[in-house]
Symmetry: C2
Subunit: 418 residues, 2 copies
């Protein structure tokens, strides 16, 4: 740990936090390369050691030796539902309400098409201006396909509730904003939508495995989420979809591929949806990527959510405090809410030199993300980050800021960032 100016809390306190961290042992489950402080687990989580071992087994034994037989003998055919049931534990869902399939975008298409069909008299989809773009793109793609019969109504984060009206079929929201880290009140907005007769789809990409989610507690309708962020499922890991039990019998989604059929191997000529959540499946899943995902999910299941959440808030609180003291005067502007109940597991600052600052940080081994136009994004995954990492990251950020005049693009564009 870098020693430096006295900062709240002092370094010995930070070390003590690590020494008493109830999640400390989970860090050893991951391969974390030396010289790196990884604050980008909300883009791609690190490699679980178990995933490396498991993948060798899947490749050599199951694919190599088992060949086609492994669909049954190794249980490949059950993976989407087995892993879905595990993810259900992380998001307040029941077994049989979650299945792993396709990408987050594809699953959103299913949920949105299925949700609109359950509200045939209504024509409005409410979402947020600052929603993750792919969510808006998918809504645009679906409404265009439906020949302009639906309207996508976008509101600012604070005005979502007011935008939901009696004409609203579906409310489509991302729980934790990808750019700001702001977290919506899932229960309150779900209730608000239901009071007006609308259904809600929650995108849990930046939530699952990082913040508490209680879908059934909130009476949620649909949710989707990502396997490769806080679930540490590997690059492009398959995504998941949640359909509340009460909607499953009437849920029809248009990506009606054979694995969503009641009897896929009967090869019937007409589609008959499977009885439960399996009707959200479409084509054959990428087994190698699925197998890796399960290993990441298994680690997340070991961390009690209240403990995980407490550590996440402590990490992000610490980072905010350190940066605000140590980097004062450099023009960083915190855009992540200070209020705990509005904060995900990331901290973001706006700065005109955000892009080159992130590049300089990466060169120093602190891996964060730039998000346009001017945002430095730092993700704090409580499963493997230490308080000491936060301390070091804040001090390296301060060093980087001290080294250049980052707020004058005409200067840094000519400066070699090292």
């Amino acid at each position: 740990m870098t020693t430096g100016a006295t900062l709240p809390p002092p370094p010995e306190t930070v070390l003590a936090l690590d020494a008493h961290d109830p999640l400390a042992s989970l860090r050893g489950r991951f391969h974390l390369p030396g010289g790196v402080i990884y604050l980008d687990g909300n883009s791609l989580g690190p490699l679980p050691h178990a995933a490396r071992r498991r993948l060798v087994e899947v490749i050599e034994d199951e694919w190599g030796n088992g060949l086609i037989r492994s669909w049954n003998s190794a249980g490949w055919i059950e993976l989407p539902q087995r892993i879905g049931d595990k993810i259900a534990h992380l998001i307040g869902a029941q077994p049989g309400e979650v299945v792993v399939a396709d990408s987050t975008s594809i699953n959103l298409f299913k949920a949105l098409a299925g949700g609109l069909a359950l509200r045939p008299g209504r024509r409005v989809i409410v979402s947020e201006h600052e929603n993750f773009p792919t969510d808006l793109y998918i809504a645009q793609g679906l409404t265009a396909l439906l020949d302009g019969r639906h309207e996508l109504r976008l509101a600012e984060a604070y005005a979502i509730a007011q935008a939901i009206a009696d004409d609203t079929a579906v409310v489509l929201l991302t729980h934790v904003n990808y750019r700001t880290g702001r977290m919506h009140d899932l229960a309150a907005l779900t209730q608000c939508a239901h009071e007006r007769g609308a259904l809600v789809i929650w995108d849990l990409a930046h939530s699952t495995g990082a913040v508490p989610v209680d879908l059934n507690g909130a009476g949620a309708d649909f949710a989707i989420g990502c396997g490769y962020k806080y679930l540490n499922g590997g690059p492009g890991a398959p995504a998941f979809i949640f359909v509340a039990h009460r909607h499953q019998a009437s849920f029809r989604q248009p990506l009606s591929g054979w694995l969503g059929h009641a009897q896929p191997f009967a090869f019937e000529g007409s589609y008959r949806p499977a009885g439960g959540i399996a009707r959200a499946l479409c084509g054959t899943p990428p087994v190698l990527s699925l197998a890796a995902l399960e290993c990441g999910v298994d680690i997340a299941l070991e961390a009690p959510m209240p403990v995980l959440r407490a550590k996440s808030l402590a990490l992000t609180d610490l980072f905010i405090a350190l940066v605000e003291q140590r980097c004062a005067g450099h023009g960083l502007r915190l855009i992540t809410p200070r209020e705990h109940n509005q904060r995900g597991s990331q901290v973001c600052f706006a700065h005109p030199g955000a892009f080159p600052i992130i590049q300089a940080l990466i060169a120093r081994g602190v891996i964060g993300d730039f998000r346009p136009p001017d945002i430095l994004r730092f993700g704090f995954a409580p499963l493997y980050l230490r308080y000491a990492d936060v301390w070091d990251a804040a001090h390296i950020l301060a060093d980087v800021l001290d080294a250049h005049t980052w707020d004058r693009p005409e200067l840094w564009q000519r400066t070699k960032v090292t």
Copy 2:
């Protein structure tokens, strides 16, 4: 090799065929477990040794050490187009016309929705009764979503041309039938559709890497295909989609996720499709499964297609001849065409005891497939099968048939199949 009754050709000729097989060296590229004759590469191709090595590299170096940086430094972001360009070589397409993404079913949805949009005045989709069910299911899902404005018109294989009329928007056909091995005349049916103003989508699941396909020679519009059959890409490997260059500028597909955007990382609020084939992308691809697929495709690229096709026909001819001689009187009925220009790379027989016969064959190490209601399906992948394997498989099939009375279900249902 089993020696037995004199059969055309004699065993020494079969051994000579292997000794002079110009593709013989490619067999060594695959892990083929001992004691197995694998006639199911059209369900799941075997493991290439290169895929095992490559996956360890992707897992340990790229994911483990490179983390998020590998999207650029390891070229993950280019994989869908890079592998697509390689597949293009196998199907008579140009670079920039093929991209790897999602599953075959999902890609069909894109192609069908995109194709219908290019023929707005027409309402009919023509397909085949015996098409692979998921293709029909997807067409059913899309037409239901479009509120009954389109009709799915199904014809028998021999009557496809007559079913295409001036009301036909899109003709959706699988080149090689999954159950019978019958191969359509891709060029003739494409021309027929075009003469009537319709577009064609070719499902190449059982073609790519096994039979000659010349999409551009035929003036084809769209195609989709599978990565885990004859491309040996691994269980659930991602699929591909072909959009002819001339259609790309006007091709709009509703699964408009961020990776199909002109500038995915600009995070714009509105979808703008990428300029070329990338607009067929949707969400983040499963990198582990993609990386394995590339290794399989690379092997296929080493086999000149005329040589591959000649061997495929020789293997299937040999199997038909051996089975018809050696298994005569057992009631097997060949349902794969004898005509070379109508045959894919598989041989299928109908038999009332097809299911238990396949189980008995698998127990003897000959892995084929049962397809309902009564079909024994054997795939012949010329990249790794030997003529001697065909000889052995036919003789083991004969032994199995000799051992029981398979055509009386009331008997075999009480017989323990060993």
